[in-house]
């Protein structure tokens, strides 16, 4: 009785975080020498790993951070992962140490211990007035006076547990000066989707000025498919994807010839001719693809879904693209309507 339920602000993904990312991420190996980070055996190489209880470190370099964005506290997020070579203590997560240092390495903050929160956003902060070391001597520091006088500094992370690894990519640490309203981010996400639709309609209208109804629909769908899956044509052209062009595929399908094996027809001339024609078709489609917008790039749903601010520059770029296609398709449509009028 008497207890109150206090509803807090939105958390996790129902926010619009404004991240300030590091310029780059570098690693040192267990011997202290620079390396590219360790691969623990995952197929994905997005994250690289540092070894625990050794000289292995991950160092992020931030440049030009505007100190006016932070008052007394610098907020930052971590999305570090862990890889265990042995199970160890099941209950306690793998631990790490983090400190901030100047670019020349002479000034650094005290190490702060943390436990990995894998697949979560670990919201952390450091005070601008903090304890640390200047030339290895203990000192009281001011973040933007001693460590980052020009807004440039480094963040260093080590793994504490022997034999265990911490994994990170460049975007796994970012400064978080503020969060914007989720609803506005949501609206911006919708604007992106609307822009995609707008461009498709532009193409549809353009095609309808010189093609019959059903053919215009097919042409619009083709533009849509090319806009979303055009990368696949590029992969076929530069042979990243195996299987060849349309004619080769037409032969492979009924003969149940897998895409990974070389096509064997027993007639080299025929084979060369097929490859040649296929290449021609693919190059033509590839060129055609360049004429339609890349719809995947216009997709900003992930920003909203993962709670990051869809920054204005990106939205402006998308608006510009949409406007460009509007002008182009309007001109073409105008030209065709005009010529049809003349013909009529």
């Amino acid at each position: 009785m008497g207890d109150k339920i206090v509803v807090g602000g939105p958390i996790d993904d129902l926010t619009a975080r404004i991240p300030i990312y590091a310029k780059n991420l570098t690693f040192t190996g267990r011997d202290g020498e620079k390396n590219e980070g360790y691969n623990v055996g995952y197929m994905s190489e997005y994250q690289k790993y540092i070894e625990g209880d050794s000289l292995s470190r991950a160092v992020w370099r931030f440049d030009g951070v505007n100190k006016s964005l932070f008052k007394d506290v610098i907020l930052y997020d971590l999305t570090i992962s862990a890889f265990r070579t042995y199970k160890g203590d099941i209950i306690t997560p793998v631990g790490g140490l983090i400190h901030f240092r100047s670019i020349d390495g002479k000034v650094k903050s005290e190490d702060e211990a943390f436990k990995v929160k894998e697949f979560q956003v670990d919201r952390r902060s450091v005070r601008t007035k903090l304890k640390g070391f200047i030339d290895d001597k203990p000192a009281d520091l001011d973040f933007f006076k001693d460590i980052a006088p020009d807004g440039s500094f480094e963040v260093v992370i080590r793994c504490q547990d022997r034999g265990q690894y911490l994994g990170m990519a460049a975007a796994d640490i970012y400064l978080r000066p503020a969060d914007l309203q989720f609803w506005w981010n949501f609206v911006k996400g919708y604007i992106s989707i609307w822009l995609q639709m707008f461009i498709v309609i532009c193409f549809g209208v353009m095609f309808s000025t010189f093609l019959s109804g059903p053919v215009a629909v097919i042409a619009t769908v083709a533009a849509l498919v090319l806009g979303f899956f055009g990368f696949f044509v590029d992969n076929l052209v530069n042979t990243t994807s195996k299987g060849g062009g349309p004619i080769e595929s037409l032969i492979r399908l009924p003969t149940q010839m897998g895409s990974q094996i070389e096509m064997e027809l027993g007639n080299e001339t025929l084979q060369k001719a097929i490859t040649f024609v296929d290449r021609g078709i693919l190059l033509a489609v590839s060129q055609l693809k360049n004429a339609v917008p890349n719809f995947s790039q216009l997709d900003t749903a992930n920003f909203v879904a993962y709670g990051y601010n869809l920054f204005g520059g990106l939205l402006a770029r998308h608006l510009t693209i949409a406007f460009g296609y509007f002008v182009l398709t309007a001109l073409v449509s105008y030209f065709f309507l005009k010529t049809r009028e003349m013909a009529a």
Partner: protein, 619 residues
């Protein structure tokens, strides 16, 4: 030209109309008579409604793909793989839900992807609570699968495995089991899905649902469906063993967690009953006759009786047939016959092989023996031979299935675990381990020693349980004990023989003659009498367990734990003395077994200084 076009159109229309009739005949709905397709669907119960729940979302998705469901599903599978590789596990999970909606009746989707979630994705997470959540996601996926596929008991079977073994056997089992016990939402979810996880059957000693018992409930659902005639691709003897096994694993788990009292004994008592029921169940085999695992002794006796009768009946022709076969075989292969004639110790290794082949070859078959009898006796002998072959086949199947499920071990273990001496033995080990955690080395050593005396007794009464997990756990305890006392253990150690047995068993259990060794131990166990009498036996007294113990039955006796572990082995009746006692040990008077009467055996006085190792009080 126009006329030709018109007549062609008319033909097309007529063909289309004609095709409507068979289409109508085939496709009539069942409510309006007997459409052939509807009839077939109903006969084989493969209509959408018969297969399981009808889900509007699933049907809409199937329609929306405009017949390209296969392509859409393939793309989604590829996407799911990509998301898993790149660790986008939330998207992975969402994609799996879409795949399931597209292919709701493809069982391998539910099985494969549930396994992916519970077994492959969950270990990717650092925090064991998140791992638990992903195990649950796999379970949830399977539960959804059961709704879409009401006639596929394999999903209930998988649920039994996931809820029981995944949560109860993983390295994080302590944490998982704890989380499961307190996961009220999950229990409610099970109840909503038709599994009463809050019923008494599923409650552990703390009156909260236990993962092993809930897993057992899922198996029981699968058994009900299988008993109703639905097919499952599992061998019946394995399928039906899991329910009672899960009950036993539950007993093992609560004991590991420190529930070492009447509650544990009760769990094992139930397990024993379940195992007996399982042993009495008729199990279909690859042969023609179903077998019951508990009928081994009867089957063995049947074979012996029939064999006796048959050989008695064919005794008059046995030698004659054998001789004829021997002569024929010798003529066909004189070198083998020569090898068989030689005395055994004069044969080379090759000759031994030949001799064995020769002996085997001349052994007359039942058919050969029966056909040599006078005509009027032949029919009866042939019938007998036929019965004998069937009985032998039944015996072979029963033995084979029993071995596959390790029937004897579990049967014996369920009995042993109900005995107070075993509960005490486990409790003392548990307490010793706890004392190690608080660095009470002396206390831990004492507890271990008290425990080992009891384990020795348990192994003597139930030797077969030395072979599996129980033996392994005791061996681990011995190793901890060795580290604590920092000494090697020799033949004076009470579990020395067990250690020797277990080392040989672990080193190469395929070569080690387990059957023979266990048979010897079993023979000794029979001499000890019933374990119920243990606390009144001279043996018990020799161990310092007081003879005037008010409750002699181990089933309801809580022993004091004050037994003296240093009782010399030689004071125990019926047990031979070691050849060379340790020189530092006091050599007690050795009474012969016949001289010792129960009243003569007195507990040894506690020694002021603990000897370096426990003495072996039994052989």
């Amino acid at each position: 030209m126009n006329n030709r076009s018109l007549s062609r159109r008319i033909i097309y229309i007529l063909v289309m109309v004609a095709l409507l009739f068979p289409l109508f005949y085939l496709g009539k709905p069942p409510t309006k008579g007997s459409g052939k397709i509807a009839e077939l669907r109903s006969r084989y119960t493969i209509g959408q409604a018969d297969l399981g729940k009808l889900d509007p979302a699933s049907e809409s998705m199937k329609l929306a793909t405009l017949g390209m469901r296969g392509i859409a599903a393939t793309i989604l599978w590829m996407q799911a793989d990509h998301y898993k590789e790149e660790k986008y596990f939330d998207r992975f999970s969402a994609t799996l839900n879409q795949i399931a909606l597209l292919q709701p009746h493809m069982i391998s989707v539910w099985q494969h992807q549930a396994h992916n979630l519970s077994y492959n994705v969950s270990p990717e997470f650092e925090d064991y609570r998140q791992r638990y959540e992903w195990v649950k996601k796999g379970i949830d996926y399977l539960v959804k699968g059961t709704k879409f596929n009401a006639r596929k008991p394999i999903l209930q079977y998988d649920l039994g495995q996931y809820v029981g073994a995944k949560m109860g056997k993983a390295d994080e089992k302590l944490q998982y089991r704890e989380l499961f016990r307190n996961d009220d939402e999950f229990h409610k979810y099970f109840v909503e899905q038709g599994l009463n996880a809050k019923s008494d059957d599923a409650l552990g000693p703390d009156r909260k649902p236990d993962n092993w018992l809930v897993g057992k409930q899922w198996f029981e659902q699968a058994y009900q469906l299988v008993s109703a005639g639905l097919p499952i691709k599992k061998s019946p003897h394995l399928l039906f063993s899991y329910g009672p096994l899960w009950q036993m694993y539950h007993g093992e788990a609560i004991e590991d967690e420190g529930v070492l009292d009447e509650r544990a004994k009760f769990v094992w008592e139930k397990a024993s009953r379940d195992w007996k029921d399982y042993g009495n169940r008729e199990l279909a085999t690859t042969g023609y006759v179903p077998v019951t695992l508990r009928s081994l002794d009867t089957a063995r006796k049947d074979v012996e009786d029939l064999r006796g009768k048959f050989y008695q009946k064919t005794a008059s022709v046995n030698e004659k047939v054998k001789l004829a076969k021997k002569q024929a075989a010798a003529a066909a292969n004189p070198r083998k016959a020569e090898a068989a004639e030689k005395p055994f110790d004069q044969r080379t290794s090759e000759e031994r092989m030949w001799a064995a082949e020769f002996e085997l070859g001349i052994e007359p078959s039942y058919q050969e023996l029966a056909s040599e009898l006078p005509r009027k006796e032949q029919i009866e002998a042939l019938e007998l031979a036929s019965q004998l072959r069937s009985s032998e086949e039944y015996l072979r199947s029963t033995s084979s299935l029993r071995e596959q499920v390790n029937y004897t071990y579990w049967e014996t273990r369920a009995l042993a675990e109900q005995q107070q001496m075993m509960v005490d033995a486990r409790r003392l080990i548990y307490e010793a381990n706890k004392l190690i955690d608080v660095a009470d080395i002396k206390g831990a050593v004492e507890k271990y020693e008290e425990a080992f005396v009891r384990w020795d007794k348990v192994f003597r009464f139930y030797p077969v349980i030395m072979t599996e997990d129980v033996g392994g756990d005791v061996l681990k305890a011995i190793n901890r004990y060795k580290k604590l006392i920092d000494e090697d253990l020799d033949e004076r150690f009470v579990l020395y023989e067990f250690m020797q047995f277990r080392r040989a068993y672990d080193a190469d259990y395929l070569d080690f003659n387990i059957e023979k060794t266990l048979a010897d131990w079993n023979a000794n166990a029979l001499k000890l009498g019933s374990p119920e009498d243990f606390f009144n036996t001279p043996l018990a007294k020799a161990y310092g367990i007081k003879g005037d113990n008010p409750a002699p039955s181990p089933g309801d006796t809580q022993s004091t734990g004050k037994e003296n572990p240093t009782t010399p082995r030689d004071s125990v009746p019926g047990i031979p003395t070691p050849k060379e006692p340790m020189p530092t040990e006091p050599v007690p008077t050795v009474p012969t077994p016949t001289e010792v009467k129960p009243a003569d055996v007195k507990p040894a006085e506690p020694t002021a200084v603990r000897p370096p190792t426990l003495e072996n009080p039994g052989n």
